[in-house]
Symmetry: C2
Subunit: 205 residues, 2 copies
DNA sequence: TAGATTGTTAATCGATTAACAATC
DNA sequence: TAGATTGTTAATCGATTAACAATC
């Protein structure tokens, strides 16, 4: 095990490996190689071996990697060998879609609270949860010790909600609002903006 | 203007600059500097100047960049100085959210067709569109000359739908299915998977 | 054993940063 | 003019790839 600082770009590839390995396991495959995994995810075999070897020696010369073992190790490294409670802020269309999304299951997450500032939505039941007033964000998130939030409010409201989340102790924000957020260094943000993603591709058309 | 190949990593930052500049323009700001823009998006001033200078000399020493002019240039570079028709495959929760999403307006995109393979959804009206059978993907997309698609079908169906999209001439796919797609080199794919994005952050918690 | 594949080193390649002349 | 900021060069830093000994 290597305790040095691992580059963020490597951390970013691990969930992709995890997802592909999970899929192989679902298909009943027991073993894979850096070569085979690389073909699935579009990354060179050398890079996959180098990435994985940052964390230990998980493979066997001649035979490759045990998928079940590598899955265990990757989940442990990424800390998704547990279930994280996630707060959802914004009960619009995207918020509803996320609240009903089945894809968090077995990936390490579950939604634990939903907030909106719209009077008509507060009290609405979505899945197992009642939509709470955004005024309650700090109080509720602190009390439940929630560390992760998904933000699906309009761009104009996103920064002020993000400030509240930081105040409540949230350390990871998945931001669907089309705006760059300003947060302290110890808070991570990931951005999901379909227009931005599409614009990354139109250049090549 | 520099005709050499521009690295993909630079192309990926341009939409972020574009979004921040658009926001400044909406707030009535006329001019900015690499320093100021950098603070907004969390990127160094030197890198912003270097990125922009790949495409021409759009700034002025002493005063910085005219926002309106830089917006024009970035839209032109990214080819979003026009409106692209986009096909949406999958009329589930995420598909509905995207169909109703207002955030494509003024960003260069509009949804032009919606498909699903569920008999109960085919014929349903979503916004201005009637959901069509996925059997019609190749025919309809070819006829309409659509080059961009968003994929919100289950993982198990994603690869076969992607194959149809490629066959129909689509060159850019925004993939919401939690699976790596196999497509020819000249087809671009961007991935949106909330679990993967969250897993990129839990490592640091 | 022979074949396959890892983990790792060194070489290469690419991206970022610092610094500053040019100039608005 | 004096101050500010660009565009660009060179230096630094970091990531990827190729190659191969080790070994299952």
């Amino acid at each position: 095990m290597n305790a040095e600082k691992i580059p963020d770009i490597i951390i970013g590839r691990l969930p992709v490996y995890l997802r592909a390995l999970q899929r192989m396991a679902d298909n009943g495959i027991k073993t894979t190689s850096s070569q085979e995994l690389g073909e699935h995810v579009g990354i060179s075999a050398a890079q996959i071996r180098k990435d994985i070897s940052q964390f230990g020696e998980f493979g066997k010369q001649g035979t490759g990697y045990s998928i079940a073992y590598l899955l265990d190790k990757l989940r442990e490294i990424l800390k998704v060998d547990r279930i994280w409670d996630v707060a959802l802020i914004g009960a619009g269309d995207i918020g509803h879609a996320l609240a009903n999304y089945q894809g968090f299951q077995n990936r390490g997450f579950r939604i634990a609270a939903i907030f909106d500032n719209n009077k008509e939505k507060i009290g609405e039941k979505i899945g197992d949860f009642v939509v709470q007033d955004t005024d309650k964000i700090v109080e509720t998130i602190k009390a439940a010790n929630i560390k992760i939030a998904m933000l699906t409010v309009p761009a104009a409201a996103a920064q002020s909600v993000a400030d509240k989340l930081v105040q409540a102790g949230v350390k990871a924000i998945l931001n669907y609002a089309p705006i760059s957020l300003n947060v302290p260094n110890n808070v991570k943000v990931q951005y999901i903006d379909p227009s931005t993603h599409l614009q990354r591709m139109t250049y090549y058309l």
